[in-house]
């Protein structure tokens, strides 16, 4: 008998268990609370398609090497499969399976007509030349063949893949369709360079979505963002944009931690100046207009809002008790583990969960897909306005559902996602 996806994950050795456990637990908690139809639960606990391809690519020395690529398609009841492609040596079917499932929930909560998928190739890109990367990418695209398509499964950048890789996938895919189909198929990938059909506003989308959520939370709580204090973990794309976008509200950035260390200044740190410094020095370490602090002191900083925008499992049983904030707005994926979540609830700290708060990225990917499909090109203002509507709509749904089920916002977000999928299955039924 086929094992359910959650069983497959938990059967793995300890070292391979990770943040996906949190997601599986959340899925189970939300399913129990909303009394999800057991038949639909069965469907969602398993992926739809798992494609493994072994393909050759010619190296610079003329020799051939074999590579293994994956594409897991979890569920497409809401629309075409959507999810990133990652290149790194540890890619395996379990990791891709977990991340594909996560994408289904993320798209459902964001209210966009996409299902969940993920893929990748197990190899170390740092050991390959530009030319080899191109040949590997093109052969992988060719090997996937009909398993991806603009109306079927749309890849996007992820770990070690970027707009250049997307451009190669686009070109290879277009070469495999008839000339009449080519201009109708450029939405085969998102995350493209703007000149090749990418969207305005994609770079700041995740940070912008996070700030829209915070703005709405402040409105709900009658909380004035002017002179509010906030701290950020992670000053990469999401963290730096969130900081820059909060500045016009008059909010004060009082502490930042990134991979090089942590800094604090109760008088405020200018996000724009810090961004310039980080671009030059590759980290916040040594920023002259702030004091250096250690990891523990960073978590103890008194602030109104904390935006974790770095990596997973940072708010844990060790760090959650240290937090002295009113709101945690999760810009990163899975920054809070199960224990950390419980402590935040005990401390009455409000939480904007990751699948709601960092959905801006996938929403603007949807906008890119939509623009390509309609042969349109939207101005930045239009992208921002549409993003605001989508994010606020998702926020309100999560808020109302959490109140209706008298539960926390993370569980509420999962219930919103599962309800929309359940509704479609109930209406359409199962063939035959």
């Amino acid at each position: 008998m086929e094992l359910a996806i959650a069983d497959k994950i938990t059967q793995k050795p300890a070292i391979k268990r990770n943040v996906y456990e949190n997601v599986t637990q959340q899925f189970n908690k939300a399913s129990d609370l909303m009394d999800l139809d057991p038949d639909i639960r069965k469907i969602l606990a398993t992926t739809t398609n798992e494609i493994i391809v072994h393909f050759p690519a010619i190296m610079d020395n003329g020799r051939i090497e074999m590579f293994t690529g994956y594409r897991v398609q979890h569920n497409n009841v809401l629309g075409p499969y959507k999810g990133g492609l990652r290149y790194h040596p540890a890619v395996d079917i379990d990791e891709v399976r977990a991340l594909a499932t996560w994408m289904t929930w993320k798209c459902a909560i964001a209210g966009i007509p996409f299902g969940g998928a993920k893929g990748g190739i197990a190899f170390d890109p740092s050991k390959h030349s530009f030319g080899e990367m191109e040949r590997i990418t093109r052969r992988f695209t060719y090997a996937l063949n009909g398993n991806i398509g603009p109306e079927y499964d749309i890849p996007a950048p992820d770990v070690n893949t970027n707009s250049q890789i997307m451009a190669w996938i686009l070109d290879t895919y277009l070469s495999s369709v008839t000339p009449q189909e080519r201009n109708r198929s450029i939405h085969i990938v998102t995350g493209k360079p703007i000149a090749s059909g990418g969207s305005q506003g994609r770079d700041k989308a995740t940070g912008q979505g996070t700030v829209f959520c915070i703005e709405q939370w402040a409105k709900d709580k009658n909380f004035d963002l002017n002179n509010a204090t906030y701290m950020i973990q992670g000053f990469g794309n999401v963290g730096s944009w969130a900081a820059k976008l909060l500045k016009p509200f008059g909010s004060k950035l009082v502490a930042v931690e990134d991979h090089t260390g942590a800094i604090s200044n109760p008088e405020g740190i200018d996000p724009d100046k810090l961004a310039i410094y980080v671009k030059e020095r590759k980290g916040v370490h040594g920023y002259p207009a702030a004091e250096p602090v250690d990891h523990e002191s960073f978590f103890k900083t008194k602030a109104d809002i904390f935006i974790p925008a770095a990596l997973e499992n940072q708010i844990t049983a060790e760090t959650a008790p240290l937090l002295n904030v009113k709101l945690v707005a999760e810009g990163a994926n899975g920054p809070t583990d199960i224990e950390g979540d419980g402590i935040l609830q005990e401390k009455n700290i409000d939480l904007l969960p990751d699948i709601l708060c960092n959905g801006g990225g996938v929403i603007v990917s949807y906008f890119e897909w939509l623009q390509n499909k309609r042969s349109e090109s939207w101005e930045l203002e239009e992208v921002d306005e549409r993003l605001r509507k989508k994010v606020i709509n998702a926020y309100k749904k999560v808020k109302n559902t959490s109140q209706e089920f008298n539960t926390d916002w993370r569980t509420g977000a999962y219930i919103v996602a599962l309800s929309s999928i359940q509704e479609v299955y109930r209406t359409r039924g199962i063939f035959p």
Binding site: N18, Y20, A90, S126, S129, V159, G286, P292, A309, N313
Partner: protein, 111 residues
């Protein structure tokens, strides 16, 4: 003022980690506390690959690579015919006709 730098995990240990850290360029400078039993799958500060040539040197950009190739082409353009592709071209003392050499028993390519 310097930020406090925490203990940095050695790279060789991290390579055993099945997460994405092993292929991150920030690995040697990263001070985030990490747990080997919870490999990182997603990180907003992940810094990706730098493509390498077959000699192991970094490829700075495609444009630079093309510029270098064009320079080499220009240098070789003074030779015509087989000489252009012959490894002995620069040392060769045999007489060359103006229209280029098209048949030569001494011709030798890179292979």
């Amino acid at each position: 003022m310097d930020a406090v730098v925490r203990k940095i995990a050695p790279k060789k240990e991290e390579n055993k980690n099945p997460g994405i850290c092993a292929s991150c360029k920030n690995l040697n400078f990263c001070t985030y506390p990490r747990n080997q039993s919870r490999p990182i799958m997603q990180c907003e500060e992940f810094l990706g690959f730098e493509p390498r040539t077959k000699q192991g040197k970094k490829v700075v950009s495609l444009r630079l690579y093309q510029a270098k190739t064009r320079k080499k082409e220009k240098e070789l353009s003074q030779y015509k015919g087989l000489c252009r592709y012959c490894v002995n071209c620069e040392q060769c003392t045999l007489p060359r006709s103006e229209g280029g050499v098209w048949i030569c028993d001494e011709y030798m390519d890179e292979e």
